[in-house]
C-alpha cells in the first residue's frame, strides 16, 4: 500500500514536471524587455499637486497646425499657424478667424492692435479683420523666423536660420542686427541647433533673447550691446535640458520669466536673477515629444501655453493667489 502511494506520488510529480516543461517550451513568450532601456521616466516625473499652478481652462483651436501665441492688453488671445490666424476672447470664445497664405510660425501685436506674423522668411502685417496691410522683403534664403516683439517703432525678429536678431522699423527698414559673435564686445553669438529661438522685451525696455545652444538668456539694449546673461544647462529642474533650450519664454509680472522646454516638456518660472522659482506644468502633463510650447501671459496673470500636439491653448493659474 505504502509503495503504491509512493509510485502514484512520483508519477504525479513527473506529470507536473512534464506539464511545466511543455508550457515553458511551447507557450511561454520570449521576454521583450530591453536590458539597455533608455529611461526618461525619472526626468518625466512630477506630481502636479506640487506645482504652483493649476490648469484651469483649455481652448481648442481649429487651425491645421498651431505655432504662435500672443495676447493683447484686453486679454484677447491670438493664435497663428498653418493657413490662418484665430482670435479668442479671454473666456476662450472664438471672436474671429482669417486665412493667410502659408504658415505663420510666430505672432506679435503692437499697441494699435496690428498683427505681425513671422512667415518662413518674411514678416507680414495684418489687421484683426483679416486684411493684409504689408508684406516685407525676405530676410534671406536661409531665414527661419521664429519670434517677433514690437515696442514703439521697433520690431525685433529672431531668425533661427541665420542665428541673428533683426531690429526693423515699422515700415520694414533694417536698423541693426543684434547678437552676432563679437569677442571684442563679449557677444558670444547665438547657437541655434533647432528652429526654436525666442525673444521678448521687458518692461524696462531691454531685449531678452534666448541663446538656446548655451542654455541661457541674454539681455541686450536696442543697439545690440550685451548687458547681462543667465542660465544653466542641466537635466535637473533648475536648469535647461537637452541640446538647446528653453524653446520659448514669456515675461511674467514685470520681472519673472516663464520658460518652456522640449525633450523634457516642462514649463517653469525663474526669478529676474535667473534662480529657479517654481513649476507651472510638469512633463507628465504633455504628450511625449511635444515641441514648440509657445507661451503668453494675459492681463489676469494667467499663463497661456500653446500645445501644438493637442491643438490646445492651455491656461494655467496660480493656485494660491
Amino acid at each position: 500500500m505504502k509503495q503504491k502511494i509512493i509510485i502514484i506520488s512520483a508519477l504525479a510529480l513527473l506529470l507536473a514536471l512534464v506539464a511545466f516543461m511543455v508550457k515553458d517550451f511551447f507557450f511561454s513568450k520570449p521576454e521583450n524587455t530591453n536590458p539597455y532601456e533608455f529611461g526618461l521616466r525619472q526626468v518625466r516625473t512630477g506630481d502636479t499637486a506640487t506645482a504652483a499652478f493649476a490648469e484651469t481652462k483649455q481652448i481648442r483651436t481649429t487651425l491645421e497646425e498651431i505655432h504662435g501665441l500672443a495676447t493683447n492688453p484686453s486679454g484677447n488671445i491670438y493664435v497663428s499657424g498653418k493657413g490662418g490666424v484665430e482670435i479668442f476672447n479671454p473666456s476662450g470664445n472664438p471672436q474671429a478667424k482669417f486665412k493667410i497664405d502659408g504658415s505663420a510660425q510666430c505672432i506679435a501685436l503692437d499697441e494699435t492692435g496690428l498683427i505681425y506674423l513671422g512667415m518662413e522668411d518674411h514678416i507680414e502685417i495684418w489687421n484683426k479683420e483679416g486684411k493684409q496691410l504689408a508684406k516685407w522683403n525676405s530676410c534671406g534664403a536661409d531665414a527661419v523666423l521664429t519670434s517677433i516683439a514690437v515696442r514703439g517703432n521697433d520690431v525685433f525678429v529672431a531668425d533661427a536660420g541665420q542665428k541673428v536678431v533683426y531690429r526693423f522699423n515699422k515700415t520694414g527698414g533694417l536698423i541693426n542686427k543684434i547678437g552676432m559673435k563679437d569677442p571684442a564686445t563679449g557677444v558670444p553669438g547665438f547657437i541655434v541647433p533647432s528652429p526654436y529661438f525666442d525673444l521678448g522685451i521687458s518692461r524696462d525696455g531691454n531685449l531678452w533673447v534666448v541663446n538656446p545652444g548655451r542654455h541661457s538668456f541674454e539681455k541686450y539694449n536696442f543697439d545690440g550691446k550685451l548687458l547681462s546673461k543667465w542660465g544653466k544647462a542641466s537635466m535637473a529642474m533648475d536648469g535647461f535640458c537637452g541640446c538647446c533650450n528653453p524653446s520659448n519664454f514669456a515675461l511674467f509680472q514685470d520681472s519673472l520669466f516663464v520658460t518652456s522646454e522640449k525633450a523634457i516638456e516642462r514649463v517653469k518660472i525663474y526669478n529676474a536673477d535667473g534662480t529657479f522659482r517654481c513649476v507651472v506644468a510638469y512633463p507628465s502633463q504633455f504628450e511625449e515629444g511635444t515641441k514648440g510650447l509657445d507661451l503668453a501671459v494675459d492681463k489676469q496673470n494667467r499663463i497661456l501655453v500653446l500645445d501644438p500636439v493637442k491643438k490646445l491653448i492651455r491656461i494655467f493659474e496660480l493656485k494660491n493667489k
Partner: protein, 214 residues
C-alpha cells in the same frame, strides 16, 4: 475490381510518391547545378560563393544587410541577437547633423547632476563614446567601435534631446552577411533589409548628389 478503400489508399500513396519525387528532383538538380554545394543555409563561409550559380549565392554577392535608422526603435536587440560578439551593429556618428552639444543626450545619462566625463554620468554601458573639447561651448563625440555593442542607448538619447546624429548601422568590416540575419529575424520594427553592396549604408542626414537620389 477495386473497392473504394483501395482506390483512396492508392491515391494517397501516389500523391505522396509524386511529392517525394518532385522534392528529390529539385534538390538533385540544384546540387548538380552547383557541383559541390552542401545546401547549407549560409554562404558566408563557403569558398565557392564567388562562383556559385544558386540564387542565394547571387543575392549574397550583390547585397548586404543594413538597418534603416528611420525605422529603428532602439529596442536593444541588435546587441543581443547578432552572431558576432560584440554585435556587428554599431553606433555611427553623422557629424554633419551633430550640434556638438555640451549637454549631449547621447553621452550623458538623463538624470545626471553634473556635466563631466565621470563614468557614472555616461549613458553608454561600455564607455564607447569619447568626448573632446573643441571650442566653447562645443564638444566632439566619437565612437570607439571595438567597445560599442550596438545597444542604441546613445541613439535614443540623441534623438530625444538632440538632432538624431547618432544612428545604428551594420558595420560591414565586422558583419559576416549571414543569409538569414539573426537580428533581422528578431527586429520588431522590420528595420533590416538587404541593400546593394555598392551602397551598403543607410545613414540619415548625409546629403546625396542629385543623381544618387532614388
Amino acid at each position: 475490381m477495386q473497392n473504394r478503400r483501395d482506390f483512396l489508399n492508392m491515391l494517397c500513396r501516389g500523391t505522396l510518391l509524386t511529392g517525394l519525387a518532385a522534392t528529390t528532383g529539385v534538390l538533385v538538380f540544384r546540387s548538380v547545378k552547383d557541383g559541390h554545394c552542401t545546401l547549407g543555409s549560409s554562404c558566408n563561409n563557403c569558398k565557392k560563393s564567388d562562383s556559385c550559380n544558386l540564387p542565394e549565392a547571387a543575392l549574397f554577392r550583390q547585397t548586404v544587410w543594413q538597418l534603416d535608422p528611420t525605422k529603428c526603435i532602439q529596442c536593444g536587440r541588435c546587441a543581443e541577437n547578432c552572431v558576432m560578439t560584440p554585435s556587428a551593429v554599431k553606433a555611427t556618428h553623422v557629424y554633419a547633423m551633430c550640434g556638438y552639444c555640451d549637454l549631449c543626450g547621447g553621452y550623458l545619462k538623463p538624470d545626471t547632476k553634473t556635466i563631466s566625463t565621470a563614468a557614472e554620468n555616461q549613458l553608454c554601458p561600455t564607455s564607447a563614446i569619447k568626448r573632446k573639447f573643441v571650442e566653447d561651448p562645443f564638444y566632439q563625440y566619437t565612437i570607439d567601435e571595438p567597445l560599442c555593442i550596438g545597444c542604441a542607448k546613445c541613439v535614443k538619447g540623441c534623438g530625444a534631446f538632440g538632432n538624431g546624429s547618432l544612428q545604428l548601422q551594420v558595420r560591414h568590416d565586422r558583419c559576416v552577411n549571414c543569409n538569414e540575419c539573426a537580428i533581422a529575424r528578431n527586429c520588431p520594427a522590420d528595420a533590416f533589409s538587404r541593400v546593394p553592396a555598392n551602397k551598403p549604408y543607410l545613414l540619415q542626414g548625409i546629403e546625396t548628389k542629385p543623381d544618387e537620389k532614388g
